[in-house]
């Protein structure tokens, strides 16, 4: 980061290569839109470059990075620049559809994967911003509660509560989707 702060673009490129996927994944969980997630990721990295001098080696870099990322995503969403939309469409029976295909699988598995992805995305959009942030950092970036507490400037107890509420909400949404998916009405459809 010292080299980045001194304007070393090669060091910045190395930093980008190492961390951009995590940041993009996080932004995508926030806005559920590939184009918007990339715009946010671009903004976050440019911001990181411009303010690299503010980084202090006492803070873990990943924590610093996600603090920048989380603040940026929250601010942009609050400003209305990136209105979070319920991107998953629902069919006449209320089941989510029209999500990008996950990895190549059998057609049935692919459909199931898309529906699960849409269910999770929908559940995430119903969480508070802090719950969503804590959940995304924990579940998709594998960060510890302590690091998430640092990112959110919260206590570990608060983070534990945020993550539990968020995980339980998502679990119930997935359970409801699975119950619907295995119902007779669904199998007839």
């Amino acid at each position: 980061m010292e080299r980045v702060a001194a304007g070393d673009t090669a060091a910045f490129a190395a930093l980008y290569d190492r961390h951009h996927r995590s940041v993009a994944r996080f932004a995508h969980r926030f806005v559920q839109d590939a184009g918007k997630a990339e715009e946010l990721t671009q903004d976050i990295f440019v911001k990181l470059y411009r303010h690299a001098g503010r980084y202090r080696a006492t803070a873990r870099f990943k924590t610093f990075l996600f603090r920048v990322a989380a603040n940026h995503c929250l601010n942009e969403v609050r400003r209305g620049e990136y209105r979070v939309t319920h991107v998953c469409q629902h069919d006449e029976e209320g089941r989510p559809v029209e999500m990008p295909a996950p990895e190549a699988q059998s057609p049935e598995r692919a459909v199931e994967g898309r529906e699960l992805e849409a269910t999770v995305a929908d559940a995430l959009q119903r969480l508070s911003e802090r719950e969503r942030t804590a959940f995304a950092l924990c579940r998709f970036e594998g960060m510890s509660y302590r690091d998430i507490a640092e990112v959110l400037s919260a206590s570990e107890a608060a983070v534990k509560s945020l993550i539990h509420r968020a995980t339980l909400s998502v679990a119930k949404a997935v359970e409801a989707w699975q119950a619907g998916a295995s119902s007779p009405a669904r199998s007839e459809a």
Binding site: A6, H28, E38, T41, E103, K160, H164, L168, K172, V174
Partner: protein
């Protein structure tokens, strides 16, 4: 749900509880069917979440980010660094010393010439030619001399 342990179930599955807290949850789970059901639901969900495909940003994003960063004004530290790097500073200091010596000589011997400004300078240069070409005395190495020859170009590069 009325069990207070329920609030700890996610942290329990995430391995975020202390040994004592985790033991308390395990003991409770052995006797509470409702919490066991919740724990199973959470455990199943975590497995499914782990299997979700990750968003993969496009390759074009890297180009866009680096282009935007390249287009930004360079940080002041880098700009200052380009002015004060030793390779440039040493020859500049050398030239300044040489100039000071030349002025000193002109001041000392100027009274002998009828045209102090023109002839004095010529004499000073001539009389002290050895000194001026002795690069070691003025702190100039052959590499430094090359830098001095291209000083105007280096100055342009260093300019913001």
């Amino acid at each position: 749900m009325s069990c207070t342990v329920e609030d700890d179930l996610t942290a329990y599955l995430d391995g975020e509880l202390s040994v004592v807290e985790a033991a308390r949850v395990r003991t409770h789970l052995a006797s509470c069917a409702e919490c066991r059901a919740t724990e199973m639901l959470l455990r199943r969900t975590l497995t499914e979440l782990a299997a979700l495909p990750a968003f993969e940003p496009s390759a074009g994003l890297r180009r866009r980010v680096l282009s935007e960063v390249e287009a930004l004004p360079r940080p002041w530290r880098e700009r200052l660094g380009s002015w004060f790097r030793p390779g440039l500073l040493a020859p500049v200091a050398g030239v300044a010393i040489a100039g000071a010596v030349a002025l000193l000589v002109v001041g000392t011997h100027g009274h002998r010439s009828s045209n102090p400004l023109a002839r004095g300078t010529e004499l000073a240069v001539a009389e002290n030619y050895d000194l001026l070409t002795d690069y070691e005395v003025v702190g100039l190495s052959p590499e430094d001399l090359e830098v001095v020859e291209h000083l105007d170009q280096l100055s342009k590069e260093g300019r913001p």
